[in-house]
């Protein structure tokens, strides 16, 4: 098969192109075969389950997708920061508030990183967090429902990139400004010249508190920082539990052509923040209260409704005054990844333009701080001496190191964008052990449990930026893709390519056993507290309030009640509040009305969802169920009669022609 493929002229051309593209430093042989038993290692028999959930951010699509591993099968797309036509997220009246921000309704954002909740530094299977990069937000997904339950906007921020990484007991998720911008200290972005970056631009990192019981988030405190670009971050572990580490670039403070102007210095910084101390200072009132505006959106599984609240205050800590909360460590060169090993002892910086991977030692950092072993100050913040905090450097590891994950056996796995490879190396000895090509230009990588105290190991997954010739072409826009490698032996082995939806930016993988047993099957209809619920057909009705018409509708295999509605007039706003009366697993109903400028909705068993419809013409308009629900699904339909404005057609609703059908 492979030989045949190779001589296909199109493939061959593509290969030539790829070879030219990567001629300098890429994988030399894109047709490199997987190992002989790869197929059996990723085969999950029909009806069997995968071993891991892979929770993957969708990058520019603003969502999160869920794959099974090792099969690479797509299980679900969870809508988070973007409207989602598949189930009405961001279109239904209940979910519109979830996309509210201080800028109003934002229908599409860019999601970058996943953080799964941990207890004592280990996965607990409760929540997944994901950041919105563009309009800065953090979202929390409940892993019982695989739904977005909460979204909090981050004030005093832009380009929320180093986020939503979390502390060991999920005390805080962090958010840092990739784009510094002018901050006037009163929550405003003043009108100043862009060229005044050095004087006026500031950055912040925010610590978003997480309630251990229900996951509810709040802005705990923010740390005001010099205007640089904060890139990525990781919490400390074990001995370094109280610390958080952030990579910074553009310490040159350039505001234009950063490609060149932010690559001038030999070293930028890894920033160490003592968040425990910050927390103490915030509690002790050492911070400044700043008036800001940010949206805080919460979805309730009881009312099946999201609410958006604008909040107004944040506590800002200034390390120029609070001297022992922030330290910079020099790091070559434009560091991107900033990863902490499972022991919490080693911090790996990945300078995108560096020829080495520096590894910092937490013990040495503590000693350098105690000895005040500073080489300089940067805008009032102490800079520790590089040699004093360095554990060592991995020499000539590859080109363009980005991110590092760990297997819990003393090994690190670093992705190399430019040389398109994963390099396995020994953390203590700083020696390269193995390297495998990726196809192509890997960004993040993921070892199940890699960013925890106890990695689950077994696989490393590459999330690639370029797919090129790996799949059948689909025009200029190709599938995105990930690759699965076996890391159980000394050598890494490629097992599987699998296509992904959206850009697979960063991901975590968690054993199914920590999530699957808690997965909710239905919403109990008895517990439905939606204000417009119809608990049974007896409660189905149509109520007019001025020009608003509320339809309390039920759906069950296979009819709506009511399914004939008359008395709606042009100029009315009709709200279809559809309650799915089913209480069986996997029996959603859909709802659509002709000419809806909004969307359709999909309603899970026991749930109520609302579609707003503003009829634009007189006539009889069909409604129907869009989700194939039973053998009589095609019969699940009805009509709404729209009469002219001012008509005196009375409001009337029925199912089965006579009111007796639904009123025994």
């Amino acid at each position: 098969m492979r030989t045949k493929h190779f001589f296909n002229p199109l493939t061959f051309t593509a290969l030539l192109f790829a070879a030219a593209w990567f001629s300098a430093c890429g994988p030399k042989n894109p047709t490199t075969a997987t190992v002989g038993d790869a197929a059996s290692k990723v085969y999950v028999a029909p009806g069997s389950y995968d071993e891991f959930y892979n929770i993957v951010s969708g990058g520019f699509n603003g969502q999160v997708s869920v794959y099974g591993l090792p099969s690479g099968r797509l299980l679900r797309i969870i809508p988070v920061f973007s409207q989602f036509a598949e189930n009405g997220w961001g279109y239904s009246e209940e979910t519109k508030p979830m996309l509210n921000t201080s800028h109003g309704f934002v229908p599409w954002d860019d999601s970058h990183h996943i953080a799964l909740s941990t207890t004592n530094g280990e996965h607990d299977g409760k929540w997944a967090f994901v950041n919105a990069n563009n309009t800065p937000r953090i979202a929390r997904i409940n892993l019982k429902t695989f739904r977005t339950e909460e979204i909090i906007e981050i004030p005093n921020s832009s380009g929320n990139h180093s986020s939503p990484f979390i502390t060991e007991n999920s005390e805080y998720a962090v958010a840092g400004t990739r784009f510094s911008y002018p901050m006037d200290g009163q929550g405003k972005n003043p009108d100043v010249a862009i060229s005044t970056y050095k004087e006026n631009f500031k950055g912040t990192v925010s610590f978003v508190s997480i309630n251990p019981e229900n996951g509810r988030m709040g802005i705990g405190f923010q740390v005001l920082l010099p205007g640089v670009n904060f890139d990525l971050s990781r919490c400390g572990r074990g001995p370094s539990h109280d610390w958080f580490f952030f990579s910074c670039y553009n310490t040159e403070q350039a505001n234009t052509l950063l490609e060149v102007n932010a690559s001038q210095k030999d070293k930028d910084f890894i920033m160490a923040v003592n968040w425990k101390k910050c927390e103490e200072y915030a509690k002790a009132g050492k911070g400044r209260k700043e008036q800001v505006r940010y949206a805080h959106n919460v979805y309730s599984d009881e009312t099946h409704t999201g609410t958006s609240t604008i909040e107004n205050e944040v506590i800002v800590l200034d390390p120029k005054e609070l001297k022992d909360i922030v330290y910079f460590m020099p790091c070559p060169k434009s560091p991107h990844g900033c990863d902490v090993d499972p022991t919490g002892q080693y911090i790996v910086g990945s300078g995108k333009l560096a020829a080495v991977i520096p590894v910092f030692s937490f013990d040495k950092i503590q000693k350098a701080i105690a000895d005040r072993n500073f080489e300089a100050e940067y805008e009032g913040i102490p800079v520790l001496k590089y040699d004093a905090v360095l554990h060592g450097e991995v020499q000539k590891p590859g080109l363009g190191p980005l991110h590092t994950e760990f297997d819990g056996k003393g090994n690190a796995y670093t992705s190399f964008f430019v040389s398109s490879e994963i390099v396995k190396w020994d953390i203590a000895k700083l020696q390269v052990l193995d390297r495998v090509p990726t196809y192509y230009s890997i960004g993040h990588l993921c070892v199940p449990g890699g960013p925890t105290r106890k990695p689950h190991g077994k696989y490393v997954i590459a999330y690639n930026k370029i797919t090129k010739d790996r799949y059948l072409p689909t025009g200029p826009e190709l599938t995105q893709s990930a690759q699965l490698y076996d890391i159980s032996g000394d050598k890494m082995k490629l097992l599987l390519d699998f296509p992904t939806t959206g850009e697979p930016h960063y991901a975590e993988a968690i054993p199914a056993s920590l999530v699957q047993p808690n997965s909710l099957k239905i919403f109990k209809i008895e517990e439905n507290k939606h204000p417009y619920v119809a608990k049974g057909e007896k409660e189905a009705k149509v109520v007019r309030e001025g020009n608003k018409v509320h339809v309390y509708m039920t759906s069950i295999r296979s009819h709506f009640t009511p399914d004939n509605i008359e008395g709606v007039k042009l100029g009315d706003e009709v709200y279809f509040h559809v309650t799915n009366l089913e209480q069986d697993w996997d029996v959603p109903h859909g709802f659509a009305v002709k000419g809806s400028n909004n969307s359709e909705i999909l309603i899970m068993p026991g749930e109520t969802c609302t579609l707003k419809w503003v009829p634009d013409r007189v006539g009889v308009v069909p409604i129907y169920c869009t989700d194939f629900c039973s053998a009589l699904h095609q019969e699940m339909q009805g009509y709404v009669r729209v009469s002219p404005a001012g008509s005196n057609v009375p409001l009337k609703w029925t199912t089965g022609g006579t009111p007796e059908a639904n009123n025994f």
């Binding site: 085969y43 999950v44 028999a45 029909p46 009806g47 069997s48 389950y49 995968d50 071993e51 891991f52 090792p70 054993p511 199914a512 056993s513 699957q516 047993p517 997965s519 099957k521 239905i522 109990k524 209809i525 008895e526 608990k535 049974g536 057909e537 007896k538 039920t554 069950i556 295999r557 296979s558 009819h559 009640t561 009366l581 089913e582 209480q583 069986d584 697993w585 996997d586 029996v587 959603p588 989700d627 194939f628 629900c629 039973s630 053998a631 009589l632 699904h633 089965g656 059908a661 639904n662 025994f664």
Partner: protein, 156 residues
């Protein structure tokens, strides 16, 4: 997935019920097939233990009748009338005279088993073409529905 099963089931019922695959069978197969993962588990339905004996007493338990009626209105009335007329499923009038109490309880709480094994339940599926749904009703609550059905049939 289940909705496709359900759809297929409906059509399959037209020809032969014997060829039907139920969800619980599919689950059982999943359980028996070799799993690649130590972690992989099946997800058995909470609901679905066969009830073999039901004691009926008179007079009717008024509290049960009341609760049974409330559950009926929430979860059953969409498909079952209290007269003998069929809506989606058969009307309830006379059901306690024509069926054993255990048949009724199992039809409510253990419908997958009934549609696999019970010829009367299978006949009804052929007539109605919609699987009696699992409405997530506990055995205890189903007993209250039965009490309400008895009242509906004129028992005191």
């Amino acid at each position: 997935m289940l909705r496709y099963y359900t759809m297929l089931l409906g059509f399959a019922a037209l020809f032969s019920l014997a060829s039907c695959t139920s969800k619980s069978e599919a689950d059982a197969k999943a359980k028996n097939s070799p799993s690649p993962a130590d972690a992989a588990q099946t997800q058995p339905e909470v609901h679905g233990t066969e009830v073999k004996e039901i004691a009926l007493t008179n007079p009717l338990n008024a509290d049960w009748v009341k609760t049974g009626k409330e559950i009926y209105e929430l979860k059953c009335s969409a498909c079952h009338k209290l007269t003998a007329d069929k809506l989606v499923g058969p009307g309830w009038a006379g059901v306690t005279k024509n069926r054993q109490p255990t048949w009724i309880i199992n039809m409510i709480t253990n419908v997958d088993m009934m549609l696999e094994k019970d010829p009367e339940a299978q006949k009804l599926l052929e007539q109605c073409l919609v699987r009696m749904p699992n409405q997530n009703i506990t055995t205890e609550d189903s007993r209250k529905i039965l009490e309400f059905m008895r009242q509906n049939d004129g028992e005191k």
